[in-house]
């Protein structure tokens, strides 16, 4: 029984978590610029996806393709995220975030406690996925790769994509349409199935 108190900041009653939720889990949706992270999160989220921005200070390192200017020391990193209520006690958050090496602090924050990650890839720019895959491996976060199929992108046999991305045999590879809820959902399910399988077969309880 809810008495739904009025709140003028947020009128949409679906904004808040069900009262019964006790546990929050998170999964990352990562990939290079323009690969469809925000779209993927938006297709699956039950709330209007939200965005947070952090100003990152960074010495040196190479910058975004978009930024173009060298020597810049601060940059704004946006993180889009959404939410899926799994059951009455559990909620899952999906965080879409950039995969650049230089946002180390952001990465630590995001990966801490994350279950795993969906790496979105684009067949036209597969090599741009290496950075983010490397970061996930550094943080010991298991992942599945989902090729976001763009209408004008060439299709390759799975074997060729695996080889181009240098995937381990156990790493799942799926094709999806990030705009489509069911398709994005299948990619997410593939990841979770993989995580569960990996955990129950390879990791022993401490």
């Amino acid at each position: 029984m809810d008495s739904a108190p009025a709140c003028d900041s947020v009128r949409d009653s679906g904004v808040y978590l069900p009262r019964t939720v006790r546990t929050a889990a998170k999964i990352l949706v990562v990939g290079h610029f323009g690969v469809g992270k925000t779209t993927f999160v938006g297709s699956l989220s039950e709330i209007r996806p939200l965005r947070t921005e952090e100003t990152m200070t960074q010495a040196g390192a190479h910058l975004d393709d978009l930024a173009g200017t060298a020597g810049k020391t601060t940059t704004t990193v946006a993180m889009d995220f959404g939410r899926i209520t799994i059951n009455e006690g559990l909620v899952l958050y999906l965080f879409g975030a950039p995969g650049q090496q230089r946002f180390t602090r952001l990465w630590l924050d995001m990966t801490r406690g994350a279950l795993g990650a969906v790496v979105l890839a684009d067949t036209r720019r597969l090599e741009q996925s290496f950075d983010v895959m490397g970061l996930l491996e550094e943080h010991d976060l298991p992942y599945a790769v989902a090729v976001n199929h763009f209408d004008d992108a060439p299709s390759y046999p799975e074997e060729e994509i695996r080889e181009a991305l240098d995937l381990l045999p156990a790493t799942p590879l799926v094709t999806c349409d990030a705009r489509d809820r069911r398709s994005a959902g299948r990619a997410l399910i593939t990841l979770v199935d993989h995580l569960l399988h990996t955990r129950t077969t390879h990791r022993e309880p401490v």
Binding site: R19, L92, I189
Partner: protein
Amino acid sequence: MTPATPRRERGLVRPYVVTDGRSHPTRNTFDLVTLVMAHTDRPLAGLSPEKRRMMELCLGGALSVAEIAGHLALPVSVVKVLLGDLVDSGHLATRAPIPSAQLPEAQILQEVLDGLRARL
């Protein structure tokens, strides 16, 4: 004189002003998905405008740290500092996400899998 009260505009007040120059919260227990709940019986008088906005948002129901940042259009780092103060003053309570060390992760994963399959 004073312009119309800005609500969502960014950058009008610099984050370090909002936090009195602090960049770290009084406690280091906030994750992006830490769940935050408001105590309804605390007075809001005397709170800074940002803390008041945060309380008004949180009084509607439970939200994660990331959602609070998103709704208030404040950086997560700033939200964490403000949250720390509001927890210290008894205005807010938090429920930590499951600590990774004792995570019954297989169980969580199974629930997530079942939930996703049922919904999609």
